[in-house]
C-alpha cells in the first residue's frame, strides 16, 4: 500500500511552490546519521518507499530507521489521449514537498560505515541532490 494520508480535507490540491529553505526538520533529531536534501524537491511515495526498502535491506534488522517526510500532497493526472477540459484529472499519486535542508531519513544504532552505506544506497532512490549528516558526538 503506498504511503498516503488516511483522511484529507479536500481530494485534490494545487501544486504550490518549493521556494526557500527548510525552516523546520533540518537537523538530526532521532538518530545519529541522516540524509539531508540539498535541492527543492517533490518526492513521491514510491521514491520514499524505495529509499526505505534500500535502507532496511542493507541494515538487515540492525539499527533503526526513521523516515522524516510524508507524502501528503495529491498529484492529479488526466487520462492518456483525452481532450482538454472536463475538469481536473484524477489523483494519480502522492508527493512530499521538501525544501533544501530537510532531513529525509535518519539511522541510529549502527556503526558509521554501515549507516553511511545505507544512506548512500537510499540517496540513489531520491532523484535530488542530498548529503549525509552525522551527529557531533558529545
Amino acid at each position: 500500500m503506498p504511503l498516503m494520508p488516511k483522511r484529507v480535507k479536500y481530494r485534490k490540491m494545487q501544486r504550490g511552490t518549493t521556494k526557500g529553505k527548510a525552516a523546520r526538520g533540518n537537523t538530526l533529531f532521532y538518530g545519529d546519521y541522516g540524509l539531508q536534501l540539498l535541492d527543492p524537491a517533490r518526492i513521491s511515495s514510491a521514491q520514499i518507499e524505495a529509499a526505505r526498502v534500500a535502507v532496511t535491506h542493507y541494515l538487515k534488522n540492525r539499527g533503526r530507521l526513521w523516515v522524516r517526510i510524508f507524502p501528503d500532497h495529491p498529484v492529479t493526472k488526466k487520462p492518456a489521449e483525452s481532450r482538454l477540459g472536463k475538469g481536473k484529472g484524477d489523483v494519480s499519486h502522492w508527493e512530499a514537498i521538501a525544501l533544501p535542508g530537510r532531513v529525509l531519513l535518519e539511522i541510529g544504532g549502527v556503526e558509521e560505515s554501515v549507516a553511511r552505506e545505507a544512506l548512500r544506497l537510499a540517496s540513489y532512490k531520491i532523484p535530488y541532490r542530498s548529503r549525509i549528516l552525522t551527529r557531533e558526538l558529545t
Binding site: 500500500m1 503506498p2 498516503m4 494520508p5 488516511k6 483522511r7 484529507v8 480535507k9 479536500y10 481530494r11 529553505k21 527548510a22 533540518n26 537537523t27 539531508q36 540539498l38 534488522n61 540492525r62 539499527g63 533503526r64 489523483v91 533544501p100 535542508g101 541510529g108 544504532g109 557531533e136 558529545t138
Partner: protein, 232 residues
Amino acid sequence: MEEILFQAEVRETTGKGVARKLRQAGFVPGILYGPGEEPVALKVEGKSAGTIVRRLRSHNIMADLVLKGSAGEEKIKTILKDVQKDPLTGALLHLDFYRVRMDRPVAMEIPIQLVGESVGVSQGGILEQELREAKLEALPRNMPDRITVDISTLGIGHALLVKDLKLPEGVRALDDPERVVVAVLAPAKEEEAAPVTEEVTAAATEPEVISEEKAEERRKMKEEAKQEEAKE
C-alpha cells in the same frame, strides 16, 4: 567549565535589511535579554563567534559577553540561549543571549554523554538514546557542562530514566523523572508480510475526504428540512 567569550557591540538599528548588511560586514545580529532588563539589540563579531559555535557540543551554554556600548565596555554573564544557523551552509544567522544573575537558579539544557560499552549491545541489542539533553535547574556556578551516564551495566530491555541520573549537588532535573534517557532494545525480528486482502487494498487506495462528508451531511439536512416544510 571553560570560559567562553563573545565580543559584541550595541546596535541601534533593527530589521532584516540591517541584519543582512551586518552579516555581509562580518557580524552576526543578536539580542541580549533577561529578567528585569530591557532587551538590547547586538552585533556580535562574526569570525570568533563562528569558531566558538562550531566547537560547541551543546546549544545551551554559559558564556561571557563583552559588550561595547556608549558607556564603555562591560562584561556580562549570559547563557547562549539560541543559535540560528543556515541549514545548508551552517552560517550563523542570529544569536540569543540570556542575562543571568549569579544568585538565582537558571534552567538550562545540558548534554548527556554516554560512557562505556553496554552489555546489551554486545549481545546484539540496539542502543537508543531517547534524551540527548537534560533540562536542569541550578545556580549558574553549580551548573555542569555535561552529564556522564555509565551504560556498561545496561542489558537488553533495560532503560535508564531521568531519576537514575547522577546529578551534582544543588542541581535539579526538570524533566519528567520517569522519562527514558537511554534504552537497549531487543534486535528487530524479521517481519512477515501479512496476506493482504483485495478489499483492504481497494479501500486503502483513497483517503477519506472530510469536505465530502460534510457536504453530504449538509445535503441530507437540507432535504430533511424541505420534507418537514412540505408536511407542514
